[in-house]
């Protein structure tokens, strides 16, 4: 188990090194002079040259790459072309908002998907089963941003139950220890604030949870149906165990491997979904920042953010691989 884990972990830095090289070369391949862009429209030739020197853009590519890697390892993600801010500061300011949105969405999506898939498999062939299947087909095919807009239209415009968008209650931001507004509101002893912040979260979380829910429900159902046909399930039932314990202890655990795989696979779409969801709801997180820097062609920020996303994504994938070993003892001894 330990060797397996170490091998997986050892591979990660190599992939990330490759990813950093790729993103570095990709953004150097573009036409135009970043120094001229940064120096501004009215800069003189000398000013452009000075900026070029400051950014080391006049040095050979490999020197630039090594310098950039060195900066990254020291936690320096570079400075934004647009406002000269440190990209790391901009990321740190927005990370809690994205985490507060994405983590509940993933948890909700996986939990709801498991329950729906379990129900569908248990009541195979009934209207329950058909309903879950239709829901999951639609959940995979629906565009995230459109779903968000429709939910806003129904719950915010027509019914006016929930806020139209944004993250902050009317009182504005709250500076707390965690950066998560709901948690900080509770910690600060302001339940009304926490409640209002939670109301802002409802629609974005549901929107983002839809895709993982649909995929998890679908895979749980088909995986369970396969496991339920196994001999050991029949044995367990035959020796007199009740339906529910057999389902939960014998069937579900064995059906979980494909589910974990699909959770791993849906992390990629989750990142993309977060970008779209934040844009729809005006959620001030990393997703909206990425869109802004891509539209503004703010290359140091694009470079840093895409690499940061790759780091999170690749790490999550390794964790998924490792969790197989937790669920299935056979893998540990391979």
């Amino acid at each position: 188990m330990l060797r397996y884990a170490l091998r997986q972990l050892a591979y990660l830095p190599m992939v990330l090194l490759g990813a950093s090289l790729l993103i570095f070369l990709l953004l150097r391949a573009l036409p135009g002079d970043p120094a001229a862009l940064l120096a501004g429209e009215w800069a003189t030739e000398e000013q452009v040259v000075r900026v070029r020197q400051q950014l080391h853009l006049d040095e050979p590519l490999y020197v630039q790459y090594v310098a950039w890697l060195g900066d990254l390892l020291r936690g320096n993600l570079g400075r934004s072309f647009r406002n000269g801010e440190l990209v790391s500061t901009e990321v740190a300011a927005r990370l809690p908002a994205t985490v507060e949105l994405a983590v509940p969405a993933l948890v909700l999506g996986v939990a709801a998907g498991l329950v729906l898939g379990l129900l569908a498999a248990t009541f195979r062939g009934t209207w329950w089963d058909n309903g879950v299947m239709v829901l999951s087909l639609a959940g995979i095919a629906v565009p995230v941003f459109w779903m968000g807009l429709m939910l806003i239209m129904l719950f915010s415009v027509k019914l006016t139950w929930l806020p139209l968008g944004g993250r902050f209650p009317a009182e504005g931001a709250l500076t707390g220890p965690t950066g998560f507004l709901v948690l900080d509101g509770i910690l600060a002893g302001r339940p009304a604030y926490a409640w209002d912040a939670a109301r802002h979260l409802v629609l974005p979380v549901i929107t983002l949870a839809l895709f993982p829910m649909a995929t998890v429900a679908r895979v749980t159902r088909s995986s369970l149906l396969e496991v339920l046909q196994q001999d050991y399930i029949r044995t367990a039932r035959a020796k007199g165990l009740a339906r529910v314990p057999v389902l939960m202890r014998h069937a579900l655990r064995n059906a979980l491997i494909p589910v974990v795989t699909i959770v791993g696979i849906s992390i990629g779409p989750l990142v993309g979904g977060a970008v779209l969801t934040e844009t729809v709801y005006g959620w001030p997180g990393l997703g909206r920042y990425v869109v802004a820097v891509v539209i503004g062609r703010d290359f140091p920020a694009v470079q840093a953010l895409v690499l940061f996303a790759a780091l999170l994504f690749a790490t999550a994938n390794v964790l998924v691989d490792l969790s197989y070993a937790l669920i299935d003892p056979r893998i540990r001894f391979e």
Partner: protein, 292 residues
């Protein structure tokens, strides 16, 4: 000889029979047929020019409303353009971009995936390089490419091709490796069949069914991603009637109570992705009866 030919053709015919009996294939096929026909016949079916702006008739309701007009059956958007015509023409762009992306990605994937048939070392290098592309969340990689190339529909298509091609390559490679170890491949090699002939005559026919299944699933995803990039302002530029871009231009109209310009492009995306996904599932079931 005749019997041999018959025996060789029958798996395809059997698969076609299974497909015709498949309920999902029927529903998906009908959806795709209607959407495809609407897109192809858009010039004949559209009551208006999809780009014609006329502010004097902006935000008209649908024909069922007393204030609506038969000439603008589903109303108009904020610039007075006919929503129905725009959604019809949008199908040409979104469907074609989705299919085009997938064709490009499939060709690239076949090329890269076929390496495994010939050289283990080249295959290892190719797969390790692809691992790097897999390290990026798909939409972010596409966005980075768009950041470099600039926003636009053709750049979005290229970006998504770069995202999807490695996925197709992995699928092709997996199947190639399993084909490679089959006895008939060994026999072919033993009697001195050339590499090219081995690839086209013996390996590819056994890989293609899986490629068809996977590419039909990729089309749905490509349509979604192109619409997503359009919605973010990184894909098709206005006034192009691309479904995702239409949604993003009309989103504020919801607050004015005009929901058709927002709802319709989304329903069109949903239906086309649903159609391709159902077709893909049905194809998988019919081409590989073991999975049923």
């Amino acid at each position: 000889m005749a019997r041999y030919v018959q025996a060789r053709r029958s798996p395809a015919i059997q698969a076609a029979r299974r497909l015709l009996r498949h309920r999902m294939a029927l529903i998906g096929g009908v959806i795709l047929f209607v959407l495809g026909a609407a897109a192809i016949l858009a010039p004949a079916l559209s009551p208006q020019n999809p780009l014609a702006v006329d502010l004097s008739r902006k935000l008209l309701p649908g024909f069922w409303d007393p204030a609506g007009s038969r000439q603008f059956p589903l109303g108009t958007d904020e610039l007075g353009r006919d929503v129905f015509s725009r959604v019809l023409y949008g199908g040409r762009i979104s469907l074609l971009a989705g299919i085009g992306t997938t064709v490009l990605a499939t060709l690239a994937g076949l090329l890269i995936g076929s390496i495994s048939l010939f050289s283990t070392r080249a295959d290892t290098i190719a797969m390790r390089s692809l691992d790097i592309l897999f390290a990026f969340p798909p939409l972010l990689l596409a966005m980075a490419v768009v950041a470099v190339l600039g926003a636009g529909l053709s750049n979005a298509v290229l970006a998504i091709t770069l995202v999807d091609a490695p996925r197709m390559a992995r699928v092709v490679r997996g199947q190639m490796l399993s084909v490679k170890s089959q006895e008939y491949m060994e026999a072919a090699r033993a009697i001195g069949v050339s590499n090219i002939r081995m690839l086209f005559r013996h390996a590819l026919p056994n890989v293609i069914p899986l490629v068809i299944v996977y590419s039909s699933l990729l089309i749905g995803r490509a349509i979604l991603t192109i619409a997503g990039l359009g919605f973010l302002g990184l894909g098709a530029r206005p006034p192009t009637p691309e479904w995702g871009a239409m949604l993003s231009q009309s989103r504020d109209l919801m607050l004015l109570g005009a929901w058709l310009p927002v709802a319709l492009p989304g329903i069109a995306i949903l239906l086309s992705v649903l159609g391709f996904n159902m077709m893909g599932d049905a194809l998988r079931d019919s081409l590989d009866p073991r999975l049923q």
